[in-house]
Symmetry: C2
Subunit: 470 residues, 2 copies
């Protein structure tokens, strides 16, 4: 695929700088082809773009040493979790050193009484839940990938539980970050609320490694609900399903999860996860609460879905059945890829106010009719967020162009509806072109002022989120 | 009281600048003594500090004109809601022009389907609830004063409902702000979530007018609960009451409000609001939900309070009884003042992780024993936030010094417990001295970089939150 190229402005590591790194890190300053290639690859449609070197730091003091050297020599430094980002976030397009946080993967503190947990950035979300299982608590944020908490913080990630529990925006309590000067800053205390100074925590959440390096994250955790119940409801049409969600939200049902899949997505997960789901648009629900609370939620939701042509609920009563269903939903990205072996996936990520969701989804489905590639639509529709996954042939530039045209139309439709180009994937490289339409030039200038002030040598993941110059 | 003085570095309005303002605003460029005095007064213990002039802007374009002129002439500009801030936030200590938002008080849009409402900064919180009453929705944030939404946004305010609904931090969806250059920036769309660029919304929430002027606010609103129930529970000791709250939170009860009053606060509200509450430490509860949901909450809470020596619940069943109770709680600041006619109130505002709350409150109560002034302790204890109100004689400097010593000890105790010097009142002038201990110098430098970048002429509410120079 030659249609998606990277503008590369490579800043080579000066020999003196490389010598200093070798003196400090020895063999841990890795420049082997295989390791560099791995860290020049993500799940975006961009070509491989390797860093000049990779370090797996062991602790925050090492990160301070690395950042100080990089800042002195003006060498880019790119934080890397597991490489599951979708928009080119971790590609070192100006060269430099990738910091892989795999070896900073400890859970540092579990404050069960305060519902907070403090972790290093390399902790994987599933690992975190395994490590706190005995406390009766859980961490709800679950993007499709088995992402790291550091990467999820950096992209302001969410997932299927956001409708009830919020996203990383609502669930990061405090951060430790390394600044360009090599200082370690803690952005907030563990108090539940504070009016003490500017909100540095939210500034770093979603900054995609461009303002500093996150070395510690304190997140909120929640009591495991007494009762969990999951069900599937099929609908004759896409708009019936979406309209049901709109009404459920407007009725104020405290639903934990409500996920949409179109018939193509259902077909894909049936094949990939060997399920026998009826292949029409469907909603996948999960209810959390006390036994009677869950029963009340179910009754309200059933009434609404029946009023919109929904068929009978199919229940996943046993924990293993629920787990199987949610695994299938989480794997829908990979399931989609199997619809067309050898294809590459292009995923959209708009989010609109719930009142505009049905229009946005149906207009987008109309756009997709007659496209030469398979696609699926899935969505965290309780938040107004949905994804089109387009499976394009990497050898056919015209398919790439058509998928880009769909994405452009969709983003501008969402912005016109007072929505956003990205609900949860982030900007990376691929969405930078949309920020002006969404935010306006004056807002971008406010963002740029922060970038310039925090990173005067443009070392932190340069070329991402916001252009250095207007 | 000569013990709390203001360091004033007055920057006079240049005559040319005043002429330009007069040409644009005529008589609306107000310099009368009475109006200036009113706008040099808040509820802090500082002396009156009037601005040089006051303007009541009519719309955002006028705010743009004012800011552009102020920036050109380097004249301070101070936004003013109703003047209920407690730490000197709105005192023009470098002179300049106060913008009173009383005449920008319209509700601009009610998007009931999306649970958002868009308002001008001068809208009062009670007015907002009156205007949306017909929709079945309500706005939960309720600081003690009848504050403006603009002021509440600027101070990151909260109140009695925060334990269930969050603070302004969680409930501001989007802002329009006027920058130093006179651009109007919208900080976010109305989508429920977004990963599109740096989080400008949260940067302005809590910035206390120091980074720009907020001219429009979109907030979240909520369905009015089907069932509301309120009750009072008395306890033999302060620590029994606080320990009950800790257990309620840890049990995960989705309680809407849980407010603590010590015996002195109960005495004050009894006198002020003519109530006959039993004068021991007590908790004031409110439960929101479905009928059965509320019943479940009540049973859980009763079991916990009984286990901690709590007496029988006294119910406020009728809406008018509930309203009377909450009015009394909201007026506790004014009730406290009446404990000592002619006194001035000094209020603390720490917030600590809930696991440290009982220790923090009991150690503080011990500090207060034997003080020569009356005091009360009230708190939004579900958040770990409580206030000591000390009623000092303005003619006795030694009382002021003792109250300041209490405040210092309390703030450093809270910080040592991983808490904050301010849960909801904000920094203003009075808490600036604590920020270094709480955040560290490197974090303050990150805040200062933003202040310098966004406000190069230091016109936006100068001398507040963070010192211009380290």
């Amino acid at each position: 695929m030659d249609t998606l190229t990277l503008k590369i402005l490579h800043r080579a590591i000066p020999p003196d700088c490389a010598s200093e790194f070798r003196a400090l890190f020895g063999d841990r300053f890795i420049t082997s082809e295989a390791v560099r290639t791995h860290h020049g690859t993500d799940e975006s449609p961009y070509p491989v773009c390797p860093p000049d070197a990779v370090i797996f730091p062991h602790n925050e003091d090492e990160v301070v040493q690395i950042v100080r050297l990089c800042n002195r020599y003006k060498v880019p430094v790119i934080p890397f979790g597991i490489g599951s980002s979708l928009e080119g976030h971790v590609l070192p397009i100006q060269g430099g050193i990738t910091l892989d946080f795999t070896e900073m993967n400890r859970v540092l503190a579990i404050n069960a009484e305060d519902f907070t947990v403090t972790v290093q950035p390399g902790v994987i979300r599933t690992q975190l839940n395994d490590e706190i299982r005995d406390t009766g608590l859980f961490f709800p944020i679950d993007p499709g990938a088995h992402a790291s908490i550091g990467g999820m913080t950096a992209t302001r990630a969410s997932g299927t539980n956001a409708v009830r529990y919020g996203t990383m925006r609502e669930n990061v309590v405090s951060l430790k970050v390394v600044t360009a000067q090599g200082d370690i800053v803690r952005t907030a205390s563990r108090a539940r609320k504070s009016s003490s100074g500017y909100d540095l925590t939210h500034l770093y959440v979603g900054s995609e490694g461009t303002l500093g390096i996150i070395v510690e994250i304190t997140v909120r955790v929640y009591p495991r609900p007494e009762t969990i119940s999951a069900a599937i409801c099929n609908f004759p049409t896409l708009s019936d399903a979406v309209q049901s969600v709109v009404e459920i939200m407007q009725y104020g049902v405290p639903i934990a999860r409500v996920e949409f899949m179109d018939q193509h997505a259902v077909n894909a997960v049936n094949r990939h996860s060997k399920l026998g789901l009826k292949e029409t648009p469907l909603l996948l629900f999960e209810f959390h609460g006390s036994k009677t609370g869950v029963q009340e939620q179910i009754e309200a939701v059933q009434e609404i879905t029946q009023g919109n042509g929904g068929m009978d609920f199919q229940w996943a009563e046993r924990p293993e059945d629920r787990t199987r269903l949610w695994h299938a939903r989480h794997n829908s990205h990979y399931a989609g890829l199997q619809l067309r072996p050898g294809s590459r996936s292009v995923a959209t990520d708009v989010c609109v106010p719930i009142s505009r969701l049905a229009d946005c989804v149906t207009q987008t489905a109309a756009d997709l009719e007659g496209m030469p590639f398979p696609y699926t639509i899935v969505g965290h529709v309780g938040d107004g967020n949905f994804h089109v996954q387009m499976l394009i042939d990497p050898d056919k530039p015209e398919e790439w162009q058509k998928s880009e045209a769909i994405n452009h139309r969709l983003v501008h439709r969402a912005i016109a509806m007072d929505g956003t180009c990205s609900g949860e994937h982030g900007v990376g490289i691929h969405k930078m072109e949309f920020l002006k339409a969404e935010h306006g030039e004056a807002a971008l200038e406010l963002m740029r002022l922060i970038k310039h002030a925090y990173d005067p040598n443009n070392i932190f993941n340069p070329g991402k989120v916001i252009a250095w110059e207007a």
